[in-house]
Amino acid sequence: MQQQHHLLLALTVALLWGLQSISVQAADDKNPNRFYRLTKPKSERNPPLAKDGIHDPAAEGISILQAPKTAFSKLSVGKSGNYVDWMKSMDKGQIKPRYSYEEGKQPMPMQLDIIRQVKGSTPDVLFPHKAHTMWLDCNNCHPAVFKPKKGANSMSMAQIILGKGCGICHGKVAFPVSECRRCHSQSKSMKTNAKPDSKKK
């Protein structure tokens, strides 16, 4: 009998401790001295569809759709956007996106990096074809979005923010442009052996 009492007591203490942790997290979100308070707190990330400002909360089908938090809970964590690292999730096999509606087609990744120099001390942009060709076919971008020719594509962040060029996807279905270093990753101090407007292997 006493053993049962001990067990019940232990379970009750555990429950109360769990409830307290949840309330501490909720209180923490409102704490003005919370670490890195300028970023969105975890509780506000991936809100329910009826509250995300995108879906019509009065839509009849909204209760049928899976909640993002549930869908993303088992995927690798990212640092922005919907806080999922989709590349890592694919590399780890957590997701297996179908490449084509035609059976048997596989992606054809290409290891080709393009470095675009920018003015000032902002790091240069490194565009990795490999990461993109895991998801996309060449004709998704070429030539409709970008001509596959050096010097033929003038680009600016203003255009990207307005949804052109890279902005067709980034900020909508790929990570947002608020994460500068995801693209501006080639430091000026990283000298390459390539001459300007040249290629290196």
């Binding site: 049928i64 290409m110 080709l112 004709n139 030539p143 596959p148």
Partner: protein
């Protein structure tokens, strides 16, 4: 044991703890057994399926086709009967079948005009991509000559593109698309093989100061947009708003001076002033607590 221990481990205390735990364990079972939410889910699914079967564009296409095979309405009626009989699981299954049957019927019915239009669009896109890849292949062959092999490859791709265009002109859209696909795949494979492992550098070389001025204008506009994009929420705090606005005012001042100099074609000076303006915008963003490079 002392008095507090005896009280703690009394039977009365145990009964109370048992009651708490039974409530905790039983509550989810009650939720699973059936709650107002399940019925709401069924009702919203039912409304959706009814609309799909009677009012949607798919429904109209199916009605026009006159195809009654695998009638979705049959499943809809089965769903209603099952729900009325209290079998919610079967009701949801039947609704799901109604939806699938409707989409299947819709695909069959739509295999007419809209399919042709799509095929045409796909063909256009593929032939443009094949031509772009062929151009790219020719440029790469200039950098990395492959002699006769390269020429033969270019010839093959060109022939396939021409074949595809001829098929389209003669009205065989399906064949045109297939050949365009082949041309594209051939060109793409060659480009991938030649370029794999390369790093290309697109350096920033301006033909003249005017070009550099245009670049700086774009850069300045971009950074102004970044203030809205990154610091919008932070601007609700009065102190932050004041700091940001002070710096933005300085940036705007430099920008206007730059535009005045540019209108007098003093692009050297205009570029310097725009650089100053952009620096203040970056300071404004950082004053809002957001670090950006630059």
């Amino acid at each position: 044991m002392g008095i507090p221990s005896q009280w703690f481990f009394s039977q009365r205390r145990s009964r109370w703890l048992y009651a708490v735990w039974m409530c905790l364990f039983l509550q989810p079972l009650v939720a699973v057994a059936g709650s107002p939410d399940d019925d709401q889910h069924y009702q919203s699914s039912l409304k959706l399926v009814e609309r799909l079967l009677t009012k949607s564009s798919v429904a109209m296409a199916v009605a026009q086709s006159g195809d009654s095979e695998n009638d979705p309405n049959y499943y809809l009626q089965q769903a209603k009967k099952a729900h009325a009989a209290g079998d919610k699981k079967k009701a949801m299954e039947m609704l799901e079948k109604a939806k699938k049957a409707m989409f299947k019927a819709g695909k069959k019915a739509g295999a007419g005009k809209s399919k042709q239009e799509k095929l045409d669009r796909d063909y256009q896109k593929k032939i443009e991509s094949a031509e772009a890849m062929l151009d790219a292949l020719k440029r790469i062959h200039k950098e990395k000559p492959r002699g006769e092999e390269g020429e033969q490859l270019e010839q093959q791709v060109s022939e396939k593109i021409l074949q595809a265009k001829n098929a389209k002109a003669s009205g065989s859209l399906t064949q045109a698309k297939q050949v365009a696909d082949q041309a594209f795949l051939l060109a793409r494979q060659s480009v991938v093989n030649l370029r794999d492992g390369d790093t290309l550098v697109r350096s920033l070389n301006f033909a003249n100061k005017e070009e550099e001025y245009r670049y700086e204008l774009d850069r300045n506009d971009t950074h102004k947009m970044l203030v809205t994009l990154l610091a919008k929420d932070k601007m609700k705090i009065p102190d932050v708003k004041k700091r940001v606005e002070q710096r933005m005012a300085k940036a705007e001042g430099f920008r206007q001076q730059a535009e005045t100099e540019a209108s007098a074609r003093h692009f050297d000076k205009a570029v310097e002033l725009l650089e100053q303006s952009t620096k203040f915008i970056i300071q404004a963003i950082r004053a809002a607590g957001i670090y950006i490079p630059g």
